[in-house]
């Protein structure tokens, strides 16, 4: 997408600019710190401080020299401060990292100060001795005079003392000579003096000697302490540092200018980036709006399709319901059809029986009696017909009674069938596919009822019906469903064995475990080929010429509805078949199976 490409490149550009700007900033900052004139300003200050300390040290030395400052503590402190300041100055110069001239000049100054420090130590030692000697010479002189109060001695000693003190103050070679001469003039007097005076003189001369020695020494040291070239060293260093500072400031100004430039550039870049950002933001929003519209449209289309789908689903559901209903209806019809068959058979039987009723004979007998109304007693005693009439009447009564019994039997069966039909229809209507009426019944009786429906058929075709019923207690079963299933199975079995060589149907009930009930309808009929075994319970599958294919499917469904199942076993064509209905059992534990063989043959 061209737009994305552009924005990516623009992002890269800004990032680069930002990074470059930051690096530039940091570099310039570092540079500006280096080009800071402050460190050098401090260094210049330190040089000036050293100079001041130097001057104060010189002053203290002179004061001590002339006995005006008896304590050396001041000098010691000044030296220590000088030492410290030099250290600070070296650090400042080092931090500023300047060129060689400064370092050389600083070295010169350091040497100067080191020399001064050692000179101070020498000065203190020598000066102490000098001051002490100068203070003692008058005392020593007094001791000599006291020990030898001779005017000559006095005069010569006095001369010496005066010369010594003057020389101490003045230090000129002329006065040094005077001291030496005065000392020489005293020497020859020594032997003539008494021992204490001699000792005192020795002491005096020694001190004068010390004076001569140390006075020179102190002057030399002071010259070292206050070197003439010191000023120029300070001046030069001061100037150099100032120059360096100027340079640094100029460079610093340039750096700062650059810094401002880079900062403004970066700020401008930031501003541009910001405006770009806003533009991008606006375009982003419009695109978002476009997309949202497209989405809503798509959504609307989708909703339409969803509705169509729902409608289709509804019609499908309805269709399936209708199909279901159709199936249900067909099952009902099939089951009812089964029963109606029996009804038909029974009613046909009743009609043919009634038609063939011997009641017509009764009419004939009545006519006979009426014809012989006039002479009934002679009829009954002498007529050949009349004589057998009571016996014949008796027999006729018997036949008519038999007819009545048979007709009643058939009519009762019809009644039961009609009940069943109503029940089936009612069951289908009220409970649809679920539920059913559970009754407690004796299974054997139910099966017998079903068998009775087919009695005539069994008779007509000579089918043997065997009953093998286990001793089961009363069970809670859905009576009509079980009736339907068994009816269906029995009908099939009858049809299968109609043309078979061996015609036998076995009805079996037993329990497996204490939870399962098994009802079997086994026939010796035409059997079921293997390939049909799987399909036999399918809806619409039939091998009968006039079959609908609903019976077994419906039975299987009904079995499932009761929580059981319907299975079939057959060894193949012509080998008979055994249909097995398994149901969950609720009732007492059953006893062992017994079989009752009854033949209707």
């Amino acid at each position: 997408m061209l737009y994305g490409e552009r924005s990516r490149r623009s992002a890269g550009f800004f990032l680069l600019l930002g990074a470059g700007g930051l690096v530039g900033l940091v570099t310039l900052l570092a540079l500006s710190r280096r080009h800071d004139g402050n460190t050098l300003q401090v260094a210049v200050g330190e040089v000036r401080r050293l100079r001041a300390l130097d001057a104060r040290l010189d002053r203290a030395a002179v004061l001590s020299r002339y006995g005006l400052q008896p304590s050396y503590d001041v000098m010691v402190r000044l030296v220590a401060q000088s030492h410290e300041t030099l250290g600070g100055l070296t650090d400042s110069v080092g931090a500023a990292s300047l060129d060689r001239t400064v370092t050389d000049e600083l070295g010169e100054l350091a040497a100067l100060l080191a020399q001064k420090e050692s000179a101070v130590e020498g000065f203190k030692s020598s000066n102490a001795v000098l001051r002490n000697t100068v203070a003692y010479i008058p005392l020593a002189a007094d001791q000599v005079v006291q020990a030898a109060p001779v005017p000559l001695v006095e005069r010569r000693v006095d001369e010496l003392v005066r010369a010594a003190l003057v020389y101490d103050l003045d230090g000129s070679s002329q006065h040094r000579l005077a001291v030496e001469q005065a000392s020489v003039r005293l020497t020859p007097l020594a032997p003539s003096l008494p021992p204490p005076a001699q000792a005192a003189l020795v002491s005096l001369t020694a001190h004068v000697r010390i004076l001569l020695y140390t006075r020179e020494k102190v002057d030399d040291i002071l010259a070292q302490l206050i070197p003439k070239h010191a000023d120029s060293v300070y001046d030069r260093l001061d100037q150099t540092l100032q120059d360096e500072r100027e340079q640094l400031l100029r460079r610093g100004a340039r750096t700062r200018l650059l810094l401002v430039g880079v900062s403004s550039l970066l700020l401008a870049a930031a501003f541009v980036a910001f405006t770009q950002l806003r533009r991008f933001n606006a375009s982003l929003e419009s695109r978002v709006r476009e997309r949202t519209d497209a989405l809503s449209q798509a959504n609307a289309g989708l909703t339409e399709k969803m509705e169509e789908l729902n409608a289709a689903r509804k019609s499908l559901a309805e269709a399936s319901r209708s199909a279901g209903m159709a199936e249900v209806a067909s099952t009902v019809l099939h089951n009812v059809g089964n029963v109606l068959n029996s009804v038909n058979v029974s009613t046909t039987l009743i009609v043919s029986q009634t038609r063939a009723s011997k009641v017509a004979r009764l009419r004939m007998l009545v006519q006979l009696v009426a014809a012989n109304r006039d002479d009934l007693s002679a009829f009954f005693t002498s007529d050949s017909r009349g004589k057998v009439l009571p016996e014949y009447l008796d027999k006729l009564a018997g036949v008519l009674e038999l007819e009545q019994t048979q007709t009643l039997k058939e009519l009762t069966a019809v009644q039961k069938h009609v009940d069943h039909i109503s029940a089936v229809i009612a069951a289908q209507q009220t409970h649809a596919k679920s539920g059913g009426v559970v009754e407690t019944l004796v299974l054997g009786s139910l099966l017998d009822e079903v068998a009775r429906c087919h009695d005539t058929i069994h008779e007509r075709h000579g089918i043997e019906l065997v009953r093998e019923y286990a001793d089961l207690p009363k069970l809670a079963l859905d009576r009509h469903r079980v009736f339907q299933i068994v009816m269906n199975l029995l009908t099939n079995a009858v049809q299968a064995t109609q043309e078979a060589a061996e015609r036998r149907i076995v009805l079996r009930t037993r329990s497996e475990g204490d939870r399962r009930l098994v009802i079997e309808v086994a026939d010796s009929g035409c059997g079921i080929p293997a390939e049909n075994l799987r399909r036999i319970f399918n809806h619409g599958f039939t091998t009968k010429r006039t079959g609908h294919g609903f019976g077994l499917h419906g039975s299987a469904c009904a079995a499932a509805e009761m929580g059981g199942r319907l299975t079939v076993a057959s060894d193949g064509a012509g080998q008979g078949a055994c249909f097995r209905l398994e149901l969950p059992m609720t009732g007492e534990r059953p006893v062992a199976a017994t079989s009752r063989n009854q033949s209707n043959g």
Partner: protein, 354 residues
């Protein structure tokens, strides 16, 4: 997909740039506005440098002592270390073994014994007021109290150990924690020296009668004491024994007016004094002038401990430095005067040798 990612990236970048700019500007401003140069944590001036910064002339050669500013936490550490024998190689010797506080800060011996009973080279000076000495050791080779500590620690005849050994030992103790509390970098050789020096700086004997006298209280000294002071001055003792520490601020030859070493004999290297440091002929036989503040407590005297009593010491000084003899009476007055420099009820004077 590509466009969306590009836009998000761009947004982040934009804000990144703005933020970086803002931050840099703030940093830049702060750096320019900030004062140049950090104030370094210099130790407060000690010793003579702590005296009032004035060149004012004083008629008196001696000045009163003032207490030095110290950091209490460091003083406490130093106090503990000062009497800690783990600073010696075999754990038998501490600073206080030779600088016994109750004995005026020294040990009353001519020469002290170090680890293994080895004899030291020079007489142990007092630790009191040592902060007021311009140099440490008789030959002045240490410029500061901190520098001085290296001497006995590393000297084979004294504590005969090394800083690594000491640190290894002390790291195992609670010193490690205590030092970390007071010093930023914890237990180091430099900090141990700092603590010890700080403690030594606290050992200043202020408030003596002599100091009160110097401050203007004329009645605090009796007649003999005053006479002793006058003699001390008039005989030139103050030429060298001057300043706040009554000495300790200069070098001087031992044997100005006479050949001290020639007369004493058995000259050894330690007798060369300052020469051992500067290697200059004029510095031969020069020693740091010791302070006389607690001299009445710290017999024997001189770098070789050759004067057993103060009387003897004064006699030697008069002969070899001043070139005359002092009468016993004069010497006694001077001694009496010197005693006034010890503060009354000074803890170090409990077992003073008189």
């Amino acid at each position: 997909m590509g466009g969306g990612a590009g836009r998000v990236w761009n947004q982040t970048t934009g804000w990144l740039v703005v933020a970086v700019m803002g931050g840099a500007a703030v940093v830049f401003g702060l750096l320019r506005a900030g004062a140049a140069g950090a104030a370094d944590d210099a130790d407060p001036p000690s010793g003579i440098a702590a005296l009032a910064d004035s060149d004012s002339q004083s008629e008196e050669p001696a000045l009163p002592l003032t207490a030095l500013p110290v950091v209490a936490a460091k003083v406490e550490l130093g106090r503990a270390l000062f009497s800690d024998a783990r600073l010696s190689r075999d754990g038998t010797l501490s600073c206080s073994s030779c600088h016994v506080l109750a004995l005026g800060g020294a040990d009353g011996l001519a020469l002290s014994r170090g680890v293994g009973g080895r004899l030291g080279a020079a007489n142990t000076p007092t630790v009191y007021n040592s902060a007021y000495n311009f140099r440490q050791f008789w030959d002045g080779r240490a410029r500061s109290l901190e520098e001085q500590i290296d001497g006995p620690v590393q000297n084979g005849v004294e504590m005969a150990t090394s800083w690594p050994a000491i640190l290894a030992t002390l790291q195992q103790t609670d010193y490690a924690l205590r030092f970390r509390v007071v010093y930023r970098d914890g237990l180091t050789a430099a900090n141990i020296k700092s603590a010890l020096a700080e403690y030594e700086r606290s050992l200043v004997t202020t408030g003596s009668r002599f100091d009160r006298f110097l401050r203007g209280d004329a009645a605090v000294l009796n007649a003999e004491e005053k006479r002793g002071y006058e003699l001390f001055k008039s005989h030139g003792c103050v030429s060298c024994h001057q300043g706040a520490n009554v000495g300790g601020n200069m070098f001087e030859t031992l044997g100005v007016m006479g050949d001290y070493f020639g007369d004493r004999g058995h000259v050894t290297e330690v007798d060369f004094g300052r020469y051992n440091v500067t290697r200059r002929e004029e510095d031969r036989f020069k020693f740091k002038v010791p302070s006389l503040r607690l001299v009445t407590l710290t017999a024997p005297y001189f770098h070789d401990g050759s004067a057993a009593t103060l009387d003897q010491a004064i006699d030697v000084m008069a002969r070899y430095q001043l070139g005359y003899r002092l009468s016993p009476a004069d010497r006694r007055s001077i001694i009496v005067f010197l005693g006034t420099m010890v503060p009354e009820s000074f803890v170090g004077a409990r077992h003073a040798l008189r």
